[in-house]
């Protein structure tokens, strides 16, 4: 495994927690993001994630550096899975260790917010009656008018 990676196989969270654990750490937060079945009343059958892999891994590492600069003594590992994912599968794992728990929680949340801003990964929701790339703005203005 790498500390910042895009993977196609199921994610094993413990690997990332173990990776960031160090003698000076008093806390490790381990966040796992899962495929949700219901979003605003619409049932998802499964998701398909796609990434611009080399850039995505670079941006994940950048987020790790941002955190380590912002919160002294932290260590970070992040993995995102791509391909077809079923309901409840783990899509993303973020592990942060720090000397104290408050920082580990804050930094972990910061990581997921940044992933949603800068990491080139996209999800397609597949429903019973169709599918759509989420984040694709093409249809949004029309929907907003409706």
């Amino acid at each position: 495994m790498k500390a910042f990676e895009v993977v196609t196989e199921p994610i094993i969270p413990q690997l990332y927690a173990d990776y960031v654990l160090r003698p000076e750490a008093g806390a490790v937060t381990l966040f796992t993001g899962h495929v949700r079945e219901w979003t605003k009343g619409v049932r998802t059958l499964y998701l398909a994630y796609e990434a611009y892999v080399p850039m995505a891994e670079k941006k994940l590492a950048e987020i790790g550096r941002e955190i380590e600069d912002k919160w002294e003594g932290t260590s970070v590992a992040i993995a995102h899975r791509i391909g077809e994912l079923q309901i409840s599968d783990i899509a993303v794992v973020i592990a942060v260790s720090s000397p104290h728990r408050k920082t580990a929680y804050e930094a972990n949340e910061y990581a997921i917010e940044r992933i949603k801003e800068i990491v080139p990964i996209w999800k397609k929701e597949i429903w019973e009656d169709g599918e759509e790339w989420i984040g694709d703005q093409k249809k949004k203005p029309k929907e907003e008018i409706v």
């Binding site: 994630y49 899509a91 990964i121 996209w122 790339w133 703005q137």
Partner: protein, 77 residues
């Protein structure tokens, strides 16, 4: 020549995942104009352009051999 990569909703619009085109010593802004002519609507997609795996500014110059990606709004996590 430069290499262009299209992802997610942008790939649906272009119909192809990537292509090589003759384009060099022009800016990202010039590329937007070129792309919008070839793929009408691409400019209104809220996509960003990345050059060699970094988000680029409209004034950045694209050189021969660069790898350019159209990055629609991301939705990971």
């Amino acid at each position: 020549m430069i290499e262009l990569h299209y992802f997610a909703g942008i790939r649906v619009l272009t119909g192809i995942p990537k292509e090589s085109v003759n384009f060099s010593n022009q800016t990202v802004e010039d590329l937007w104009k070129w792309a919008d002519e070839k793929y009408p609507g691409i400019r209104n997609s809220s996509a960003r352009i990345a050059v060699n795996e970094e988000y680029a500014l409209p004034s950045d110059v694209i050189e021969s051999g660069d790898v350019v990606a159209f990055i629609p709004p991301v939705s990971g996590g």
